[in-house]
Symmetry: C2
């Protein structure tokens, strides 16, 4: 759960509390603040969390592109940040947002709309 | 995003679609099915997902204890599975559950109740 942490502008007290996966990232859940819909799961490093806390726009680290990614920067489907919370172990982040348009790049409202698995109970 | 995958009873077609982090795990969000509360984030490998789909109880892989963990197995704070969905990239799981009692080991209803971060916008 520890790894080298790249320099960032995140408050050092908060950075000291954050528990990162081996790749230095923390999973971040984006939830629509009023309806409760879980929109997507992204990944944040310290700097992405800092930018999310300070700019009012959700910013993630793209594992596939290896770059910071302001959600909606190209699509316009911005996430306005309403609140940010850590979980009890400081190893997961919940961001309540106001999502403009579709959260999913497929055009679905959420990334979890299209692939419900059959239960076999 | 690929790693060796331990043998499991998960449907092979589903296992072939699943995209795991370097540690072989996929983050799983537990959400209360009726209120929309995000309760916690846990981790599943193929076998934990299989057990979640087939037993009706949320089962995670504990990274700290390195063992399977049926949520509520000791506390009684069981998560009854209502639905399971993958996201658009098949690298995150959303489990809608009916949570008995507190989801958090601290006694809070959710793991995200206690640590709201200040915004500096």
């Amino acid at each position: 759960m520890t790894s080298s942490v790249p320099a960032s502008s995140l408050d050092p007290t908060l950075a000291a509390r954050l528990r990162r996966s081996a790749d230095g990232l923390v999973p971040a859940i984006a939830q629509q603040y009023d309806t409760g819909e879980v929109l997507m799961l992204g990944w944040m490093d310290d700097e992405a969390l800092h930018r999310t806390l300070t700019t009012g726009r959700c910013t993630y680290w793209s594992r596939s592109r290896q770059e910071y990614w302001v959600k909606g920067g190209t699509s316009g489907h911005v996430q306005h940040v309403k609140s940010v919370a850590l979980d009890c172990d400081a190893d997961a982040i919940l961001v309540k947002v106001d999502q403009v348009g579709a959260a999913c790049h497929t055009g679905d409202r959420t990334c979890f709309d299209a692939d419900v698995l059959p239960l076999d109970q």
